[in-house]
């Protein structure tokens, strides 16, 4: 049995080879061979266009995502802690969580215009609800004896919150943050494709309509890699923060 990362590499190599062979055999601009995509990618990189657009995109992503994490955790904790807040909000949160986020993009354009604020709002709206729901669930599932223990030793509401509820709910909160990250990347690309054509999403639209498939795939692959890296980053942070939970799970 090979290790996981070895199989991962094998999987990527297999796909790459299949793609290259298929691309050469079919010989159509619809499926450019990987080597051509690589060349296009290199050209985009050298021209500085890719990095400029990517940094623009990532800035939007970071702003919307952090906003979603901050506000999502805040609302989620309140909903998990106070039944009144939960019952007041859960209708909307659940509806917005399962509704197609794209449907709200035109509304956000109306509210925030066509600038960067609108793109940040889209990223936020894509990511926030899954963070709220996971945080709420996490807080609700905290073992009641921990709260009782803390109170017994004289903890005030604020201490119960910071020393018990938040750390105990952290694994669930981080699961929400992880899912939120994935949705945030989707939001970023969607915003750039539907609003002003900027960033990597804008490049996709531009190359797509110009039938520049090699460049198109180069950008798509870049986005996939970015999505994977951001995901890994969040996972790293998750493990750092909730290592105690992971150890329990392995046992």
């Amino acid at each position: 049995m090979k290790s996981r990362s070895e199989i991962n590499v094998l999987s990527i190599l297999t796909l790459a080879i299949l793609w290259e062979v298929a691309g050469r055999m079919i010989d159509s601009m619809l499926i450019p061979p990987l080597s051509k995509i690589g060349a296009a990618w290199w050209k985009l990189l050298l021209s500085g266009k890719l990095l400029a657009n990517l940094s623009l995109s990532l800035w939007t992503l970071a702003a919307g995502f952090f906003l979603a994490v901050f506000i999502g955790i805040m609302i989620g904790v309140l909903m998990g802690r106070f039944r009144g807040v939960e019952h007041f909000l859960d209708l909307y949160v659940n509806a917005l969580m399962s509704a197609p986020s794209t449907a709200f993009v035109p509304v956000l354009i109306l509210w925030f215009g066509l600038g960067v604020e609108s793109r940040i709002a889209v990223v936020f709206q894509f990511a926030v609800f899954v963070i709220i729901i996971n945080t709420m669930t996490g807080v609700k599932q905290v073992d009641g004896t921990f709260v009782e223990m803390a109170r017994s030793f004289g903890a005030k509401e604020r201490e119960v919150f910071f020393k018990i509820l938040l750390p105990a709910a952290l694994p669930a909160i981080m699961a929400g943050v992880r899912l939120g990250m994935g949705r945030a990347v989707k939001g970023m690309v969607t915003a750039e494709m539907l609003l002003t054509l900027t960033g990597v999403g804008g490049m996709i639209m531009q190359f797509g309509s110009a039938f520049a498939t090699d460049s198109l795939f180069a950008v798509i692959l870049t986005i996939l890699i970015v999505a994977m890296i951001t995901m890994k980053l969040v996972q790293k942070i998750d493990h750092r923060l909730t290592g105690w939970k992971v150890e329990i799970a392995i046992e």
């Binding site: 921990f146 009782e148 017994s152 030793f153 004289g154 020393k163 952290l170 105690w244």
Partner: protein, 259 residues
């Protein structure tokens, strides 16, 4: 001195769509002397854990009052500390940090906190495990940490809620002996909830026997066995068998009356 005077407690219970009142405690009267080791024994569901929580000030009650040295109990206070049946150790904190927790809530400065926590970890035999996480320890060791956490705040009254109920028999015996040694040294008032007759007699100065729901104190027994008690000797004492037998009959009578 702890005085429990006419304490009653009902819970509202919701089953399907009907709510009903369940009377957990009915007119409980009991007074515990300073530095005494008193056990409360009773069948499951007699409300003994509820009574302990009421003494700790964790939950409100319907009637009567609890006085500690003449002062009414309304909330948890620094004079009391609880050892929980399920240990209630925080899984994201090391053993040391768990013991520190009780001191942290009392605003003890960091260095002093660590020093005190280490002292108590040593006295329960966990000095070498301070950097372990709770799940890395056996049940017995986890409860030792729970005991250290309670002792660290230096309470005058130790409230123990079936503390050895979830460890195996040998560990239980060991923990009982250690607890007696600690109590001999520290001389705290201990209110000890248990459903083991053997444990109650071995540890206590007096044993309060409770009836099934609604819980009341049926009778209070003196345990005249000399101290310090060694586990082996005590159990060979004919009075030990007599006492456990007496408690058994008292419990049985309560359960038959309740049927």
């Amino acid at each position: 001195m702890v005085e429990i005077e006419g304490v009653s407690k009902s819970f509202r219970k919701t089953v399907n769509d009907g709510t009903s009142e369940v009377k957990a405690l009915s007119d409980v009267n009991l007074s515990i002397r300073a530095n005494e080791f008193l056990s409360i024994i009773g069948p499951s569901g007699c409300g003994k854990t509820t009574l302990l929580k009421i003494i700790d000030g964790l939950i409100p009650f319907d009637g009567g009052q609890i006085l500690i040295d003449g002062k009414k109990v309304t909330a948890p206070g620094p004079d009391r500390a609880v050892v929980f049946q399920t240990f209630a150790l925080l899984p994201w904190r090391t053993v040391l940090a768990n013991v520190e927790f009780s001191l942290e809530l009392r605003q003890v400065p960091k260095e002093q906190r660590i020093a005190t926590a280490r002292d108590y970890l040593r006295s329960v035999g966990l000095a070498d495990f301070e950097n372990h996480y709770p799940h890395e320890l056996s049940g017995g060791m986890q409860q030792r940490a729970g005991l250290a956490r309670a002792l660290a705040v230096n309470p005058t009254i130790l409230l123990m809620d079936e503390p050895f109920g979830s460890v195996d028999a040998q560990t239980r015996q060991l923990l009982q002996e250690e607890l007696l040694e600690l109590w001999q040294r520290e001389r705290k008032t201990v209110i000890f909830i248990t459903h083991s007759m053997d444990e109650a007699v071995y540890l206590s100065d007096r044993v309060a026997v409770m009836t099934p729901r609604p819980g009341r104190v049926a009778e209070i027994l003196e345990v005249p066995l000399p101290r310090p008690r060694s586990a082996g000797e005590v159990r060979r004492d004919p009075r030990f068998a007599e006492l456990t037998n007496y408690i058994w009959h008292s419990l049985k009578k309560g359960m038959e009356n309740g049927r």
